[in-house]
Symmetry: C2
Subunit: 162 residues, 2 copies
Amino acid sequence: MKQRTKLDLGEFLPYLVNRAGMIIAEQFGIETLARHQLSIVMWRVMAVLASNGSQSQINLAELTSIDASTLSRIVTRLVRTGLLTRTRSTTSSREVVVMLSAKGNALVARLIPQAYEIEAAAAAGLSADELAVVKRCLRRIYGNMKGRPAAVRKSHQKRVAI
Amino acid sequence: MKQRTKLDLGEFLPYLVNRAGMIIAEQFGIETLARHQLSIVMWRVMAVLASNGSQSQINLAELTSIDASTLSRIVTRLVRTGLLTRTRSTTSSREVVVMLSAKGNALVARLIPQAYEIEAAAAAGLSADELAVVKRCLRRIYGNMKGRPAAVRKSHQKRVAI
């Protein structure tokens, strides 16, 4: 592959993805989450639990793309405010299971219509076909990154030593 | 519009955008930026300056989607490490202009091929047409959010009082 030496951010996929994600999160945070004393990261935890049911903390980190130590802090806070419960797994005592409390479920239910409102605003003017392509491709992009051979990643990290 | 009360994150655009953005940033950070003592946010600042040339700090905040106070902190750090310079604008003494130093330019030039490598890994298996649709739609999504009437946003925020 020919190496490009000039960066054109307006055509650079990681920039476009990040920029779109940031502005949606920012506006949803300001308009909707702030008055419930929720950050966007807290919302992501609650949304994943609402969508996928109770989760081990390990799966929750994976599904929310939040690193383990940050997630642990957030879960603790949401447990303290009564929105989540955290219990030992019945099958493995080392595993912690996190779920929405009744209060947490009720709050998510109130927020869901507003989440869909933000989504509709973001996707305004996109045809159903375009939206389907975008969603499919975003899932593929995630899968591509997730599935990159560890060898490739390692060879990059190794260059540190050079 | 009928209100949906169940959240299906696998079809929820904000989640898919965020998730794709996070994993790209994470891997680029670990594989490439860490050995240059750069965070992903620092990289974004430098990439915007490399792509768009020197910027006022206000424009830089806009182009990087980084809030003003965080950006100010990051610019200060990058100035200290010699990667950026910060000067008063010649046209307006209140305006601060940020640009890459020679050292900063050289570092970005070294990182660009690796940035394109990550982009290629992310977009693997997408056809040229799909990639074009995704990029166009992501720009549109950003524009939609950016262009939302302040009135809509205000009416949401006002509900805080209710």
